[in-house]
């Protein structure tokens, strides 16, 4: 069965800390995505990657960076965590053609910044 795994389900960090959210997929997908989910705002795209070391900004990239050194792993980095980054973070992967665009999601990480 296909799998997207996020490193933590719940995370509590302090303001100013550098935070790493890790995501691993086992489907050899080209595309990987990081979304932020907030009530009433839906899923907002932070960054996505369409190949190793290739990345594109989404709609809300400010305060975040990403790393994709290997095809299966896509990391989201909060350089200096702030309370307004408290949210649910969802990772997803997809392949444009073979999977007919379908995205597979991780279980989500609920991050609280105190």
């Amino acid at each position: 069965d296909v799998k997207v795994t996020q490193s933590s389900r719940y995370l509590v960090k302090r303001t100013g800390e550098k935070v790493f959210l890790e995501c691993v997929q086992d489907m050899d997908h080209e595309n990987m995505f990081w979304y932020r989910q907030d009530p009433g705002l839906g899923l907002r795209l932070i960054y996505f990657s369409y190949d190793v070391k290739m990345k594109e900004k989404g709609d809300i990239p400010e305060g975040y960076s990403v790393s994709r050194e290997k095809k299966e792993r896509f990391s989201l980095i909060l350089e200096s965590a702030s309370t307004n980054q408290t949210s649910m973070y969802l990772c997803a992967s997809s392949t444009p053609e073979g999977g007919r665009g379908r995205a597979f999601f991780g279980q989500g990480t609920r991050l609280t910044v105190v």
């Binding site: 080209e30 839906g42 997809s94």
Partner: protein, 117 residues
């Protein structure tokens, strides 16, 4: 830029009845996918149904069907014979068909569906 709009923040339906969730989108592309995803309280996103823009026929998956109006850029989801397990947040999403730097997957703000027994 592509956008996806869901104008119904919340909907309610009686068990065994039919409900329709609305979605509109904006794009200048001609070849793309549209999706409905379901997110139950467990938070795991589940694909409900997918539509390829080049197909005129509306997609159907058991009790779930779509009304795809390409010219109007409308993509509604119909749930027939609603069940208690259908209660969830539903997201409409858009994705381009081909890969590369512009292959974003864009979501709407979601519709929270309640199913009344």
């Amino acid at each position: 830029a592509q956008t996806v709009t869901q104008s119904q923040p919340e909907m309610s339906v009686q068990e065994a009845e039919t409900v329709t969730l609305s979605c509109t989108y904006d794009t200048s592309e001609s070849d793309y996918y549209l999706f409905w995803y379901k997110q139950p309280p467990s938070r795991q996103m589940i694909l409900v149904i997918r539509q390829e823009a080049y197909k005129q026929q509306n997609a159907t998956e058991n009790r779930f069907s779509v009304n795809f109006q390409k010219a109007a850029k409308s993509f509604s989801l119909k749930i027939s014979d609603s069940q208690l397990g259908d209660a969830a947040m539903y997201f409409c999403a858009y994705g381009k068909r081909y890969g590369g730097a512009t292959n974003k997957l864009i979501f709407g703000t979601g519709t929270l569906l309640a199913v009344q027994p």
